[in-house]
Amino acid sequence: MLLSFELFAQETKPRSWELKGNLDDLQMIQFSKIETPWLIDNQINNRIDFSWNPSKWFRTGIGMRNRFVFGESLTQDTTRKGSLTFDPGLVNMTWDTYSARSFILLTELDRAWVSFKSGKAELTIGRQRINWSQTIVWNPNDIFNTYSFYDIDYPERPGSDAVRLQVYPSSTSTIELASGWNSEGKITVAGLGRFNSEGYDFQFLAGLVGDQDYVIGSGWSGNIAGAAFRGEVNYYQPKKHFNDTTGLLLATLGADYTFRNSLMLTFQVYYNQLPANYTPLGLLSIYQAPLSPKMLSFTEWNIFLQGSYPFTPLFDGSLSLMYYPELKGYFIGPTLNYNLKQNIDISLFVQYFNGRFTGTGPLKDRDYYFSSCLSTLRMKWSF
């Protein structure tokens, strides 16, 4: 093993550091109905990821996100600036660098970690992405990070301020222990074991979330008749009422299949038991990451179907559909992406929601129709 590393060092001479990133501009138009007033917004984003790997046992990485946001959402919604500058981590690393009534320049560190490695063990300390997902759209097992599927501009997702120990007993298994803290200093601590058996990856986790709820969960990725078959289940029980029957169940099943002609179909159904006192915040809140991993959707049942197809390797499109039975509501999300030059992409995302806030269960107090259409044109340069 040692010998082989030496050979590689001679052969490839990889650099000990790496600087990567992208610069993009988003032009957004949002309206409820096409004849109602349009909200016009623009956002210029720059991402820089730096990593340094000076030795076999030490690595460090920093991810910086700079955003220049301007437009009508900011001037009309007085709470928007607050939500943009909110940092969910223990250490505030999101700064309002320069702002006035019509714009804000934000600087944010969403990765800042050091990692120590000894044989099959790795210890990572700092702001990092702990990704325990198995499925595609809703990820109950991913308790250290919550995100919104509809937030198209943040594929990296927020990091958590955490200490994480990863041990790899074999080529395809992991044992992890992680402890993270949110902006209120509330701890999330959990362990996860993952292994491969009979063509399936299985994982089991247990821990405490937000110093409030105990959680146990399981997830898997495998295949049935050539199609990927994935799932995640979490069960929460409040620390305070541990002996009550007040637990919450989150469960999801998904499948994806790629046809010979490259058409890929993805299906996922998600069940999120909602707290008894839950009142929906309205559809607009879905663009923001959910505040708790206990509530990843605003309705109990969610059904997702997506078809994506590369017309050419440079030009691809997808159509996402969701159905929320309690709202009799739906989401339609077509996207188009064109690779203009080797490192430049131009993309169009349309997101249309329509729902009737009425009916059964926790949503019974509201009764109105709501629709929203957000169109985003993005030009992105990767370097």
Binding site: M1, Q166, Y168, S221, P313, L314, Q342
Partner: protein, 249 residues
Amino acid sequence: MNRIQVTFLFSITIASLNCFAQDATEIVKKADDLMQGLSSQSEMEMKVIRPTWSRIITFKSWGKGRDLSLTLITSPPKESGQSFLKLKNDMWSWNPTINRIIKFPPSMMSQGWMGSDYSNDDILKESSIVKDYTHKIIGSEKVSGYDCYKIELDPKENAAVVWGKIYLWISKGEYYELRAEYYDEDGKKVKTHLMSEVKFMYDRKLPTLFEIQPADKPNQKTEVRIISTKFNIPLAESFFSQQNMKALK
């Protein structure tokens, strides 16, 4: 001709057929070994060519036997750092942007890798042209000036393969696999591989340029060029792990 003579002749024919079949398998194995070695490490450049554009992707790959392989994308920037691990029949991809390992379903195997005409199966070598097929020499033909055996490959029963038939052209003295034609289960030609630019690499001479030409799209192709390669290097089995796929450089 008496009965004994008939039996004798028959056994000779069987014996020579057997011998011929073994030869064919042996030739395919030698050609395969030439390109694989017991363990290897390579740097490659892939050019996806279409009528109005082309795209270059560079990658490194490590392999040990048929069962273990690791591939790391080194450019362009948008995809660099992504890696692919194959252990026997299981495959995973690592995406550093989202910090996640994703398990590949079998339906992804016939897909073009990184938008090329190279399938995931070609890259990750799920099936073996030596073990999963029967081999038969059906003639001799010249390819790029080399005198070649033309060998027909048929999938063995129960072998999990994507092809219905393969023809290989392997040069007689050097065992260079210079041309390969792949057919689907209905006997329709799917693609042709052409290998050329024989060069000395590490410890042997071998073709260093692969062209993949899809049969139904004559104006597009993919070229893969070996930039550097090493054979039979010490690579521990533990090198091919999920831990290492995140740490590759």
